[in-house]
């Protein structure tokens, strides 16, 4: 039988039992759609997180007080112990490295902000002018923290859009004095209303000079120091610079944890890839179930078409040819089902993007190939048994309808 004839013959026989064919297509397409959709969502989540991290700048090196127990740069190091504070003096010393492009110390706390009887609690960030560049913050109006020595506790603040809305409504906040904790401070700028940074909603932030924040929070220590390297190539030099500087200043102890952005990124990337793969594997099980369904239905088909198979043998079809005919049918089923499933999967991803635009739920090419490959593979493998059974039918008994 010629390949095209075999396909035509297979399609005709699939078409002769529509309900059975539709059920099998359904099972196959749901399996493939599940793989495509789930990997798409997993991949989207990965891209989203990677994107969030890269928006911080991959040249970024974060110095956290305290030595992490483990040597690896996992997110777990974010909660390391703090034997000795990082101070502004440390930050100033670190800023002198030639690999440093920008540096900003950070302090974080909760604080009440009040204006003319209106009051609310806000996350307070103490920092310096370079954080604007490092965190890609947008200004809506006014100016950001002035470029000046980080030790100067100038009582000014830059407020988030939501803070501005809630305290001032439609009124102009620039130049107004607000009460921040026990101190008065002048609003010099309003942040643009976009983005989250380091898990904080910039709309709700109040940013003040770091020395002022230390005064407000009554602390000498820093939450962390962000350092941007001149380029990716000098990150190792920068890390050495940080270690030696800190060791020199902390009586020989390297009691800080250094996190590079790309190592965090790589870790997340790895975790999410594995997660996506796991989810794809789970979805793959549904494909195997579909394969078993195909096997069952093919066995039924062989039983129903015993006489036809016997006839084909009497008319000169060998065992291999009978097998090829049935396997062709199964492959047709699984490839058509696979294509429908791809369509469904892509439609599903598209829908997911409509609901969560931030999630770029495009299935990765390998997932498409894997889903189609698995569909064809299961179709092939699970049709072998029924096909072999058909091929071995005794034509005399088969023609008699047994």
């Amino acid at each position: 039988m010629r390949p095209l004839d075999a396909i035509g013959y297979g399609l005709a026989s699939l078409g002769s039992n529509r309900i059975r064919t539709l059920l099998m297509l359904l099972a196959m397409s749901i399996g493939v759609a599940a793989v495509v959709l789930l990997t798409g969502i997993g991949n989207g989540a990965r891209l989203y997180i990677v994107d969030q991290f890269s928006s911080l700048g991959t040249n970024l090196v974060i110095v956290i007080p305290g030595r992490a127990e483990t040597a690896s740069n996992t997110p777990a190091t974010l909660v390391g112990e703090t034997p000795r504070d990082l101070t502004l003096a440390d930050a100033r010393a670190l800023a002198r490295g030639d690999a440093v492009q920008r540096l900003t110390p950070i302090n974080i706390g909760e604080m009440n902000i009040a204006w003319r009887g209106k009051e609310r609690q806000v996350p307070l960030v103490g920092s310096t002018a370079p954080i604007l560049e490092i965190h890609h913050l947008q200004m809506d109006r006014g100016s950001f923290l002035p470029e000046e020595d980080m030790e100067i506790a100038r009582p000014v603040c830059v407020i988030g859009a939501k803070v501005h809305r809630e305290l001032f409504g439609q009124q102009n906040a620039l130049g107004e004095l607000v009460r921040l904790g026990g101190f008065r401070c002048r609003v010099i700028g309003v942040l643009g209303s976009e983005g989250r940074s380091l898990g904080l909603d910039t709309e709700e932030l109040v940013i003040v000079p770091v020395a002022f924040a230390q005064m407000l929070l009554n602390t000498e220590g820093l939450f962390r120091i962000l350092i941007e390297a001149k380029d990716l190539g000098v990150i190792d030099r920068l890390k050495t610079h940080i270690k030696t500087t800190i060791a020199k200043r902390h009586y020989g102890e390297e009691d800080v944890t250094i996190i590079t952005q790309d190592s965090v990124l790589a870790t997340f990337d790895k975790i999410l890839k594995v997660l996506t793969l796991t989810v794809a594997g789970i979805a793959g099980i549904s494909l195997v179930v579909a394969g078993i369904l195909i096997m069952n239905v093919m066995l039924m088909a062989v039983a129903q078409r015993t006489a036809e198979i016997g006839l084909c043998k009497a008319l000169g079809a060998g065992q291999l040819q009978i097998m090829a005919m049935l396997v062709t049918e199964a492959l047709l089923l699984s490839s058509i089902g696979g294509l429908i499933g791809l369509g469904l999967g892509f439609a599903g991803s598209w829908l997911a993007v409509q609901f969560y635009p931030a999630l770029n739920a495009t299935p990765p090419p390998w997932a498409i190939a894997a889903a189609l490959g698995t569909a064809l593979g299961t179709g092939f493998i699970f049709s072998l048994l029924p096909a072999r059974r058909a091929a071995r039918l005794d034509p005399i008994r088969a023609l008699a309808g047994h």
């Binding site: 013959y9 078409g15 084909c312 008319l315 000169g316 065992q319 005399i396 023609l399």
Partner: protein
């Protein structure tokens, strides 16, 4: 052309040995018209299936066109069947989802013949068998006689050397049966070897050579003058 030498076929049914063919020797010349008759269970169907290479004898030799076919493997047997043998069955065995023409072309399809050549060979047959206005109908839209005509066309489209018919009129009324026998005899007169297995003495006695099988043996081999 066909020569069976001491061919035996033994079935085991419920612990009992049934000799469906018991050292049968038989020679059939090209162009012969032969009927095989006998009571149920006499072994005439087994004989026909053996001649058609659907069944393999337990012992003895089968020479088909000078070739010993008892030692061929499945693929070789299939190839010989495809080239040499045409089958006609009591129950027609047409594929219900295929049209008359597609059913007729099935052996060519299986043999890998191109569509153009298939049509080229089936069209004259369809005309000769009076099926021109039925060629696009499916079997359930055809009468019994028409179905058997389609089956005969299918059996001869590969230009076989021998046509084996198993009760070709068994499922037809008298009139259609006679019609079909005439068609088969016409093909025989064109040089095709014809072997008919039948219960019906009226059909069997038309053959120029009549074989009677009883208990797996040839009880009579009569040639009409």
């Amino acid at each position: 052309m066909i020569e069976l030498r001491e061919v035996s076929r033994i079935f085991h049914v419920g612990g009992q040995e049934v000799r469906a063919m018991d050292r049968i020797s038989l020679a059939i010349q090209p162009g012969e018209y032969l009927s095989i008759m006998g009571p149920s269970g006499s072994g005439k169907s087994t004989l026909l299936n053996t001649l058609g290479l659907l069944d393999t004898p337990d012992s003895g030799a089968y020479l088909l066109q000078g070739q010993d076919v008892t030692s061929l493997n499945d693929a070789q047997l299939a190839a010989v069947r495809s080239r040499t043998i045409g089958f006609i069955f009591q129950f027609f065995h047409l594929i219900p989802r295929l049209t008359a023409q597609q059913n007729i072309e099935l052996p060519l399809l299986l043999a890998g013949v191109s569509r153009r050549e298939r049509t080229g060979r089936s069209t004259p047959l369809i005309e000769a068998f009076g099926l021109s206005d039925r060629s696009n109908h499916r079997p359930d839209e055809l009468s019994g006689g028409q179905r058997q005509r389609v089956a005969i066309a299918r059996a001869v489209i590969n230009k076989p050397a021998v046509l084996l018919a198993d009760e070709p009129t068994g499922n037809l009324d008298r009139h259609s049966g006679a019609d079909i026998i005439e068609l088969l005899e016409g093909l025989n007169q064109g040089g095709l070897t014809l072997v008919v297995v039948t219960h019906d003495p009226e059909v069997g006695e038309r053959a120029r050579r009549q074989i009677r099988v009883v208990d797996g043996r040839i009880a009579a081999d009569v040639r009409r003058a």
